[in-house]
């Protein structure tokens, strides 16, 4: 394994000779090694499983959310030292979502779904400009995301620096986003306690360090910190508190910390690459979470690639979370949102990709199941609103 190894084809030889393999680089190497323009389109259909009858306060099965997403992207190399990228997203969302939870006659929590079917759409634009130097790269990025009741503007700066003959890469980034909420029916006669307008902002910093371990292995570790300020509650959710239904109310500040480790290893004999990712997360709301993801990128004849992957996620509950409250809390914080409850989730993905001349096609599917029984720590009271979903995606890209 230590002997010098020639790249198996001309394309890889060109990549290697030109780029010397930058281990921290997180976009396809072709993006800067050739002068082609890349364009792509992806369609994704996200479908949530129906809420089972025994979890619904009505005793009937209830349909949930579905989202159709169209993504367009273009990468335009301006020169060998500079490229620009644009990602456009358009998605439509509709369906019912969890509203609040009540105890049934036996004290078991059951879900009340939003009364009306929600219809919304989101348009987002994300722009990147990247500059390449011999041993460094810098990216300036910015974007905007718009929904009828939500506007988000973000910007950031990222950098990568190579050391030790490009066997080590240090990466770092800083980002900011401003978010304005204007919930539907806020302060209306139907929802007098729902806010009409609010805002929040988020600041993010991260550092990462990657290392080539051997000719077939590269690893990266990273730390990130995010601070959210402002209105962090969900205006469309409520909580059952000692017989009353109150608006979801969370602390107006949240500090989030994440530590990540990623490993990539190429198996020459199998012509396949192993991806292993781990993330440890904790925040100032008391939530601790872990994510493990394992992927296998199997190359096949006729420029086919098959990618099976499995992802496991587990989290604890927020300090102020309860499915319903039997007494008022002194701090006035209430949330029965399943996303703040203790649970685990198992996800299985399968993707198939085919390259043909300048074209690339891919098809993938994911099945995500969540539940209290999947949580790393057993004995949790399961939130009835936990979601299972499926995603089917099809993508087409071309280089010019």
């Amino acid at each position: 394994m230590d002997s010098p190894k020639k790249p198996p084809n001309a394309a890889l030889l060109a990549l290697t000779a030109t780029a010397l393999c930058l281990p921290g680089y997180s976009r396809p190497a072709q993006a800067w090694a050739d002068s082609n323009v890349h364009t792509g389109y992806r369609y994704s259909a996200y479908r949530e499983s129906a809420l089972p009858a025994d979890r619904n306060s009505t005793g009937l099965e209830a349909s949930r959310y579905h989202v159709d997403t169209h993504q367009f992207n273009v990468l335009w190399p301006s020169s060998e030292q500079l490229d620009f990228a644009a990602d456009l997203t358009y998605e439509t969302m509709s369906g019912a979502s969890p509203w609040f939870i009540v105890p049934d006659a036996n004290g078991k929590p059951v879900q009340v779904m939003s009364g009306a079917t929600i219809h919304d759409q989101r348009e987002a634009v994300q722009l990147h400009g990247r500059r390449y130097q011999e041993d460094a790269r810098q990216t300036l990025l910015g974007g905007i995301s718009h929904e009828r009741d939500y506007l988000s503007v973000n910007g950031g700066l990222e950098g990568e620096w190579d050391f030790s003959q490009q066997q080590q890469t240090l990466s770092a980034g800083v980002g900011y986003s401003y978010n304005r909420l204007s919930p539907t029916d806020g302060e209306s006669s139907a929802y007098p306690n729902r806010i009409a307008r609010a805002s929040k902002d988020t600041g993010t910093v991260y550092v990462g360090f990657s290392q080539v371990l051997d000719p077939q292995t590269v690893a990266q570790v990273g730390l990130s910190y995010e601070r959210e300020n402002g209105y962090l509650s969900d205006p469309y959710k409520e909580a059952y508190v000692a017989g009353n239904v109150l608006q979801d109310h969370r602390p107006d500040r949240r500090n989030e910390y994440a530590a990540t480790a990623r490993l990539r290893h190429y198996f020459d004999a199998a012509d396949a690459a192993l991806h292993l990712d781990y993330r440890y997360y904790r925040d100032s709301w008391g939530i601790v979470a872990s994510t493990v993801e394992l992927g296998w990128y199997q190359n096949l004849p006729w420029q086919l690639q098959v990618v099976p992957a499995v992802r496991y996620y587990t989290q604890g509950y927020a300090d102020f979370y309860q499915p319903f409250y039997t007494a008022a809390r002194p701090d006035g914080d209430y949330s029965s949102d399943y996303r703040l409850s203790a649970y685990g989730a198992l996800s299985i993905r399968l993707g198939v990709m085919k390259n043909w001349r300048e074209w690339s096609f891919s098809l993938s599917g994911e099945r995500y199941r969540s539940g209290g029984g999947y949580a790393a720590k057993g004995g949790v009271q399961e939130n009835p609103g936990l979601v299972d979903f499926s995603v089917i995606s099809a993508a087409l890209s071309r280089r010019f």
């Binding site: 976009r27 290392q211 051997d214 530590a259 480790a261 703040l340 891919s362």
Partner: protein, 72 residues
């Protein structure tokens, strides 16, 4: 969670402890393969991350995401 932290610590020690070999530029053909990138399909990853951030409490990592959303 302790297991996870232990895995992280082992990876850090591997990176910093001198376990790695010197890899010459001409030995990096396999590392340059697209499937060896930390993010092999950025467009697919962006959509997956958007979904997970909408449905789970945890987020964060060694890259910047986009802006927020009013996802339910």
């Amino acid at each position: 969670m302790r297991t996870g932290m232990t895995v992280c610590a082992v990876v850090v020690l591997l990176l910093l402890g001198g376990c790695m070999k010197s890899v010459k530029p001409w030995q990096r053909g396999d590392l340059a393969r697209p499937e060896m990138a930390f993010d092999a399909d950025p467009q697919a990853s962006a959509q997956q991350d958007h979904t997970y951030v909408s449905k789970e409490a945890a987020s964060g990592g060694p890259t910047l995401g986009g802006g927020g959303c009013g996802c339910n």
